[in-house]
Protein backbone atom coordinates (compact mmCIF):
# COMPACT_ATOMS: atom_id res chain seq x y z
CA UNK A 1 0.00 0.00 0.00
CA UNK A 2 1.05 3.56 -0.65
CA UNK A 3 -0.31 6.69 0.95
CA UNK A 4 -0.54 10.25 -0.30
CA UNK A 5 0.06 13.07 2.13
CA UNK A 6 -0.60 16.70 1.30
CA UNK A 7 2.68 18.55 1.73
CA UNK A 8 1.95 21.82 -0.04
CA UNK A 9 -1.01 23.73 -1.36
CA UNK A 10 -1.53 26.68 -3.63
CA UNK A 11 -4.27 28.94 -4.91
CA UNK A 12 -4.50 29.95 -8.56
CA UNK A 13 -6.75 32.64 -9.91
CA UNK A 14 -7.26 32.21 -13.64
CA UNK A 15 -8.10 35.45 -15.41
CA UNK A 16 -9.23 36.09 -18.96
CA UNK A 17 -6.81 38.37 -20.73
CA UNK A 18 -8.19 39.03 -24.18
CA UNK A 19 -8.63 36.77 -27.18
CA UNK A 20 -5.98 35.27 -29.40
CA UNK A 21 -6.65 36.99 -32.76
CA UNK A 22 -5.52 33.95 -34.75
CA UNK A 23 -7.30 31.13 -32.97
CA UNK A 24 -10.17 33.04 -31.37
CA UNK A 25 -9.37 31.34 -28.08
CA UNK A 26 -9.55 33.21 -24.80
CA UNK A 27 -6.12 33.97 -23.41
CA UNK A 28 -5.84 32.87 -19.80
CA UNK A 29 -3.47 34.38 -17.29
CA UNK A 30 -2.78 32.69 -14.00
CA UNK A 31 -2.00 34.35 -10.72
CA UNK A 32 -0.58 31.94 -8.17
CA UNK A 33 -0.42 32.17 -4.42
CA UNK A 34 1.90 29.49 -3.15
CA UNK A 35 1.78 30.19 0.57
CA UNK A 36 -1.50 28.37 1.18
CA UNK A 37 -1.84 26.18 4.25
CA UNK A 38 -2.32 22.50 3.56
CA UNK A 39 -5.38 22.69 5.84
CA UNK A 40 -7.05 25.41 3.75
CA UNK A 41 -10.61 24.55 2.71
CA UNK A 42 -12.41 25.37 -0.52
CA UNK A 43 -14.60 27.82 1.44
CA UNK A 44 -11.57 29.70 2.74
CA UNK A 45 -9.93 29.93 -0.68
CA UNK A 46 -13.20 30.97 -2.30
CA UNK A 47 -13.57 33.76 0.26
CA UNK A 48 -10.03 34.98 -0.37
CA UNK A 49 -10.46 34.81 -4.14
CA UNK A 50 -13.79 36.64 -3.93
CA UNK A 51 -12.15 39.39 -1.89
CA UNK A 52 -9.23 39.83 -4.28
CA UNK A 53 -10.96 39.64 -7.65
CA UNK A 54 -12.90 42.97 -7.37
CA UNK A 55 -9.63 44.81 -6.68
CA UNK A 56 -8.38 44.19 -10.19
CA UNK A 57 -9.78 44.67 -13.67
CA UNK A 58 -9.59 41.29 -15.37
CA UNK A 59 -12.48 38.85 -15.66
CA UNK A 60 -12.18 35.79 -13.45
CA UNK A 61 -12.31 32.52 -15.37
CA UNK A 62 -11.83 30.05 -12.54
CA UNK A 63 -10.41 29.48 -9.08
CA UNK A 64 -8.09 26.51 -8.74
CA UNK A 65 -6.46 24.83 -5.80
CA UNK A 66 -3.14 23.16 -6.48
CA UNK A 67 -2.11 20.50 -4.02
CA UNK A 68 1.21 18.71 -3.85
CA UNK A 69 0.84 15.19 -2.58
CA UNK A 70 3.77 13.20 -1.36
CA UNK A 71 3.39 9.50 -1.98
CA UNK A 72 5.17 7.08 0.27
CA UNK A 73 4.98 3.42 1.04
CA UNK A 74 3.02 2.77 4.19
Amino acid sequence: MAVAQKVDSGLQLVFEDGVNPETGETILRRKSFNNVKTTATADQLFAIASALVPLQQKTLNSIQQKDDLLITES
Partner: protein, 70 residues
Protein backbone atom coordinates in the same frame (compact mmCIF):
# COMPACT_ATOMS: atom_id res chain seq x y z
CA UNK B 1 2.63 48.08 -15.59
CA UNK B 2 0.92 48.64 -12.25
CA UNK B 3 0.49 46.33 -9.32
CA UNK B 4 -1.60 46.42 -6.20
CA UNK B 5 0.41 45.39 -3.16
CA UNK B 6 -1.33 44.29 0.02
CA UNK B 7 1.12 44.18 2.90
CA UNK B 8 0.53 42.31 6.13
CA UNK B 9 2.44 41.70 9.34
CA UNK B 10 2.93 38.08 10.30
CA UNK B 11 3.28 36.80 13.85
CA UNK B 12 6.99 37.61 13.81
CA UNK B 13 6.24 41.20 12.82
CA UNK B 14 7.70 40.75 9.36
CA UNK B 15 6.02 41.99 6.21
CA UNK B 16 4.21 39.62 3.85
CA UNK B 17 3.12 41.00 0.48
CA UNK B 18 0.29 39.78 -1.73
CA UNK B 19 0.27 41.44 -5.13
CA UNK B 20 -2.25 41.64 -7.94
CA UNK B 21 -1.81 42.84 -11.51
CA UNK B 22 -4.05 45.37 -13.26
CA UNK B 23 -5.55 47.01 -10.16
CA UNK B 24 -8.77 48.97 -10.32
CA UNK B 25 -7.95 52.68 -10.29
CA UNK B 26 -8.53 54.69 -8.35
CA UNK B 27 -8.43 52.04 -5.64
CA UNK B 28 -11.46 51.86 -3.37
CA UNK B 29 -10.03 52.04 0.17
CA UNK B 30 -13.08 50.32 1.67
CA UNK B 31 -12.84 47.41 -0.79
CA UNK B 32 -9.10 47.05 -0.16
CA UNK B 33 -9.67 47.09 3.60
CA UNK B 34 -12.41 44.49 3.34
CA UNK B 35 -10.24 42.24 1.19
CA UNK B 36 -7.33 42.46 3.63
CA UNK B 37 -9.63 41.78 6.58
CA UNK B 38 -11.00 38.75 4.75
CA UNK B 39 -7.53 37.37 4.10
CA UNK B 40 -6.62 37.72 7.79
CA UNK B 41 -9.96 36.29 8.96
CA UNK B 42 -9.79 33.22 6.70
CA UNK B 43 -6.31 32.45 8.03
CA UNK B 44 -5.61 30.13 5.13
CA UNK B 45 -2.23 31.58 4.14
CA UNK B 46 1.07 31.11 5.89
CA UNK B 47 4.47 32.72 5.69
CA UNK B 48 7.91 31.74 6.89
CA UNK B 49 7.27 33.92 9.93
CA UNK B 50 3.85 32.56 10.84
CA UNK B 51 0.25 33.51 10.09
CA UNK B 52 -0.82 36.85 8.63
CA UNK B 53 -2.17 38.72 11.66
CA UNK B 54 -2.35 42.43 10.92
CA UNK B 55 -2.76 44.86 8.02
CA UNK B 56 0.33 46.94 7.36
CA UNK B 57 -0.37 48.94 4.21
CA UNK B 58 -1.74 48.79 0.71
CA UNK B 59 -0.36 50.59 -2.30
CA UNK B 60 -0.29 50.65 -6.06
CA UNK B 61 3.19 50.53 -7.51
CA UNK B 62 4.25 51.16 -11.07
CA UNK B 63 7.39 49.92 -12.77
CA UNK B 64 8.75 51.87 -15.71
CA UNK B 65 11.27 50.29 -18.02
CA UNK B 66 13.35 52.28 -20.46
CA UNK B 67 15.50 50.30 -22.84
CA UNK B 68 18.94 51.70 -23.48
CA UNK B 69 20.52 50.96 -26.82
CA UNK B 70 23.92 49.33 -26.44
Amino acid sequence: MKKLELKFFNTEGKTVTISLDAPVEPADPAAVNTAMDTIIAQNALYSSGGDLVEKKEARIVERNVFDIEI
